[in-house]
Symmetry: C2
Subunit: 242 residues, 2 copies
DNA sequence: GGGACGTTTCGGCCGGGACCGAAGCATTCG
DNA sequence: CGAATGCTTCGGTCCCGGCCGAAACGTCCC
């Protein structure tokens, strides 16, 4: 009974995530898009009424935010902190049972390029990160990234303003351990901005019902030239030792 | 019903954490020490039988590890990933309700110096981090830290070998958002090593039943001279604008 | 050996909450 | 306006799991 404070609220949060239906909804929202109550019900595999209750509780606890639009209600994760917590739980869940590649061959598209909350992941994201490091635009070490002098210019040319006086405490460039391969890709504000620009330019497009990203013909060229990707970046092991 | 894989195991993990009694035990273990079943029962405020059940489930799910020693059983967090997940959940729990300093004045010792899983936190840790940055031994930015050339020497002199060819993928220097103040302190392997050395040298000592650290007379001197701490490092706001 | 202590197992109680069917609002469209 | 659609509220069922008392097991000490 020393300091029992703050211990119980983490239990509330965790128990909210600790239900199969809700966890599935949250995992679906890790895609970064806002989803309607109906879509979330579908992801969770429960009826609309049940879903409604779940969503009410999660928004009440500030895990989600709602935005009503016509007769739809769009839900999204309330903050990067929530995404990070879910990510951390996924990491723990993945390391428990010793099945390292049990996910199956089904989702090759996911392994190639997908969204991870608000940034890109998959081999494309790894190739981009490797490339930025190789060109000296980014120093990637020990779980973080630092934008170099030359990087500032590069990202600015690419349409990303990094100077922003940071009203938010959100880190500029975190890294995120990739789920398919085992190497870090770019997350944080920089990661989000990269995804935004790539979507703006039509280099990648979201798929309807999946976190996978479709690499367009335009993007195929664009990434290869601007980021100077190696020819074999689609290969699973590429980039391990340049 | 797109990709429901992996969603349900995170629910299992989260639901394990999502119980008040278990959450209290885990929070207690965030101190980094191994604790006996009895101590954990005390922290959780439930009987020994109940605790036993909880601990069995958590070790079964690889959240905890046990080590039996005589008639005691020592439990600790099974991995840094578990600690990180709990940390992330704490962050979410803290940002929900808008009470920023509700914790109370009681635990001044905690605010001054405490352990956070395996490294130091509190104003002492902040002062150390500030100091290392000021002296150019460390670059702290965007949620990560990089050890500079001069830092390599400094830490080596202090008894920390950083060269270790990293058999573990664990980041050398992560940062961790401090709970009392709002600034980052040093975590990761470097953070753990700093705490170890400080304990070795008798600069700080663990308190019996709390995460708070006691700063010894020796440590008072030691930190001040080796790390060149400013005179006012004990003040809550110190270091904000050097 | 006997007794104290730490921990686990068993059995039973009981409450919270996940779930669904049916009905009630709200919004959009014909 | 009425019908269709998306979502919520209400009422009721049911089961999972947290909790404790009692008792067994293992370990240390005298």
């Amino acid at each position: 009974m020393t300091n029992m404070a703050s211990g119980n609220t983490i239990a509330e949060v965790a128990s909210l995530i600790g239900d199969a239906a809700r966890a599935n909804m949250l995992a679906a929202l890790m895609g970064g898009q806002a989803l309607t109550a109906g879509e979330l019900a579908h992801h969770a595999g429960v009826t609309a009424q049940t879903t409604s209750g779940h969503l009410a509780r999660m928004t009440g606890a500030q895990l989600l935010t709602v935005e009503k639009q016509g007769r739809h209600r769009y839900y999204r994760l309330a903050s990067p902190a929530v995404a990070q917590a879910i990510h951390a739980l996924m990491a723990v869940a993945a390391e428990g049972p010793k099945r390292h590649h049990p996910i199956g061959p089904k989702d090759e598209a996911l392994r190639l390029a997908r969204t991870c909350y608000d940034h890109m992941a998959g081999r494309l994201a790894l190739a981009v990160a490797d490339s930025l490091v190789r060109q000296g635009h980014l120093i990637l070490a020990d779980g973080v990234g630092l934008v170099t002098e030359s990087g500032q210019g590069f990202f600015c040319d690419f349409g990303i303003d990094l100077t922003e006086a940071a009203p938010s405490r959100r880190p500029l460039c975190r890294t995120c351990l990739d789920w398919s391969e085992r190497r870090p890709h770019i997350a944080g504000r920089l990661g989000a901005a990269l995804l935004d620009r790539a979507l703006d330019r039509g280099w990648v497009a979201r798929r309807p019902d999946s976190r996978a990203l479709r690499l367009t013909r335009l993007g195929d060229q664009g990434f290869a030239t601007i980021f100077a990707l190696p020819a074999d970046w689609r290969e699973p092991g590429a980039g391990h030792r340049p």
